[in-house]
Amino acid sequence: MTGTGSPSIPFTRCIGPDGAAVGDLPDFARNPAELVRLYRALVLTRSFDAKAVALQRTGRLGTFASSLGQEAVSVGAAAAMRPEDVFLPSFREQGGQLWRGVTPLELLLYWGGDERGSDFKAAREDFPVCVPVGSHAPHAVGVAMAFKLRREKRVAVCVLGDGATSKGDVAEALNMAGVWKAPSVFVINNNRWAISVPVARQTAAATLAQKAVAAGIPGEQVDGNDVVAVRAVVERALARARAGDGPSLIEALTYRLGDHTTADDASRYRDDAEVSAHWPEEPIARLRHHLATVAGWDKAQEERVLEETAALLERAAEAYLATAPQPAATVFDFTYAALPAELAAQRRQALEGS
């Protein structure tokens, strides 16, 4: 995969599809332990997705959006962040959420239809999943402005899809972030499809990075299947934001290898051949090849990671399935900080079953 950009849009890649380094690697990527950490996160994400899809297929989870093939985007973005930064994901960024400390159990609860899944025990200031496409982009600007006002050196990181770039919400947010130099980074997971709409029918723009031009902020492309490149590019953007130099837009080029969600059947609108063509570029094999070369990553290590991940997810799934629903009263209890008289009456009625 190469950048689709015009010459003025930079494109970054650190590790090619064959696992070979492209030019000098960033410092963190010269540390094998750090690469293994990233690798485990990619594997955890893919395994989590597989588990969630399996639970959905057997009627034990709601509609779910797998991130198959796109794991490096949100893992890379999250890995670039500091704990005190705030992550504002769309609905396909479980990789980043897991990295930030959201637990597999919480994610399963959320996708299983339980609000407690968004009551993260870690990452307590991170935003919950955003389903209305692109509507979280202005939140990132607000979060960033709070940091700025309080003179905190923190950054808001918002991940959104290629389809989201068509929403006015995103244009308004980028523009405001630009004029206010709000410490924020917007990462586009360009997986080439918005349900059935390919990116070429989403916009006439040759790149999504160039959406930044309208806002007068830096925009660049990165190989979204290269977790090292994503992390490196987002780290640079975070440093810029932390230094007071304002927001950036990063288009991560990847590919949605699966259906849009478990409710979708992509064979209605795209060719298997197109999908197959993208498999050789997916992020996990790529990093594994690289690890094999630079750190002698072997089958035993690989199997250990897979087993540990599987065990961890098995425990999460069991805990999820064993979690009783919330009491009915909780339908009322979080609507306001304190229950208004109005609602107290409805709550009473509901519990009396009338």
């Binding site: 709601g62 509609t63 609905f91 959320y110 996708w111 299983g112 239809g113 339980d114 609000e115 999943v129 389903v131 209305p132 496409v133 692109g134 389809g163 989201a164 068509s166 929403k167 006015g168 919400d169 918005a194 349900i195 059935s196 709409v197 029918r201 989403q202 916009t203 409710a263 979708d264 209605r268 609108y269 629903p325 919330q326 009915a328 909780t330 339908v331 009322f332 609507t335 109005e342 609602l343 409805q346 709550r347 509901a350 079953g353 009338s354």
Partner: protein, 326 residues
């Protein structure tokens, strides 16, 4: 005559309207090759081509705004909003443009557009996919808000909405998409807008409802009938403009009324119905008007959804209260 479910009936009506009137165009997210996430537009792309079945970028505001522009030019755009959870960005276009283009130009320009959207809960859908915002829309003057409650009514009302010279928001109860089937003749016959449908008549009690709650309400009426209580069931179908006469007449006869809807109680469209009764049927009322509705809370995620949605038991309990009142 084919037995169709509601989404198939919608599909049939769209195809019929497109075949009969070259001004009809369909637009929205995934309405083309994919045939819509619920398959409401299935087959239309292949049959009518990409000029008339237009996959849009992901931008609801502009979907509505583009429809306004098309409609002003005399086309009959039928735009789809994938779920009512994403309809809110269209409200500016509906309030400030679609609903008032005719009046602000004294009839020089008009806005014969339809905005379709699946609505309501009960299918264990993800967050933001189960709400019922009809009352917000029905408060907009110059707009029509129509909600079908059966495949046949979906077919006939959608045809009526498409040929109506003014803008119509057409909310399709997601829960009904595949819940029931009935024979639907593809006869191109529209059903009347601005009219309620009286689904059953009984002299003891009037139920007023719409959309998917017609199921629970009819079930409740059946149960009551088993006990010798005969209820009228009125399906509003067009919420705005309201068919005031039919409702008031019925309650003048029965003296008792239960209103059933999914949306939150306060400011739901049931309030308008109850208000009409307090204003125009007061002396006939033998018992308080009771609304069975969603609570004034955010729609919970699926695991608690059943506690939120009014079920047959809640409808029956309300009916009891109203019947026992003396």
């Amino acid at each position: 005559m084919d037995e169709l479910n509601l989404v198939q009936a919608v599909n049939r009506a769209l195809a019929r309207a497109m075949a009969d009137d070259p001004r009809v165009v369909v637009l929205g997210e995934d309405v083309g090759r994919d045939g819509g996430v619920f398959r409401a537009t299935d087959g239309l792309f292949a049959r009518f081509g990409e000029d008339r079945v237009i996959d849009t970028p992901l931008a609801e505001l502009a979907i509505a705004g583009v429809a306004v522009g098309m409609a002003a030019q005399g086309l009959r755009p039928v735009a789809e909003i994938q779920f009512t959870g994403f309809i809110y960005p269209t409200i500016d276009q509906l309030v400030n443009h679609a609903s008032r283009l005719r009046t602000r130009t004294r009839g020089r320009l008009a806005c014969p557009m339809v905005l379709r959207s699946p609505s309501g809960g009960g299918i264990h859908a993800p967050e933001h996919h189960s709400e019922s915002p009809e009352a917000m829309l029905a408060h907009i003057p110059g707009l029509r808000v129509v909600i079908p409650s059966s495949p046949r009514r979906a077919y006939g009302l959608l045809l009526a909405a498409i040929s109506d010279p003014d803008p119509v928001v057409f909310l399709e109860p997601t829960r009904l998409y595949r819940a029931v089937r009935e024979p639907v003749a593809d006869d191109g016959e529209a059903l009347p807008l601005d009219r309620c449908f009286v689904l059953r008549e009984g002299r003891d009690l009037t139920f007023v409802t719409w959309g998917a709650m017609v199921l629970e309400t009819m079930a409740a009426a059946e149960r009551l009938a088993g006990r010798g209580v005969e209820a009228t069931v009125i399906d509003l179908a067009t919420l705005h403009p309201l068919d005031h006469e039919t409702i008031v007449e019925s309650v003048r006869g029965t003296g008792r009324c239960v209103i059933v809807h999914e949306a939150p109680l306060s400011g739901g469209w049931g309030a308008e119905v109850a208000a009409r009764l307090a204003e125009h049927a007061l002396t006939a009322l033998l018992a308080p008007v009771v609304r069975v509705a969603g609570y004034d809370t955010v729609m919970p995620l699926p695991r608690l959804e059943a506690h939120y949605m009014p079920g047959v038991e809640r409808v029956l309990a309300a009916a009891e209260r109203v019947l026992e009142f003396a």
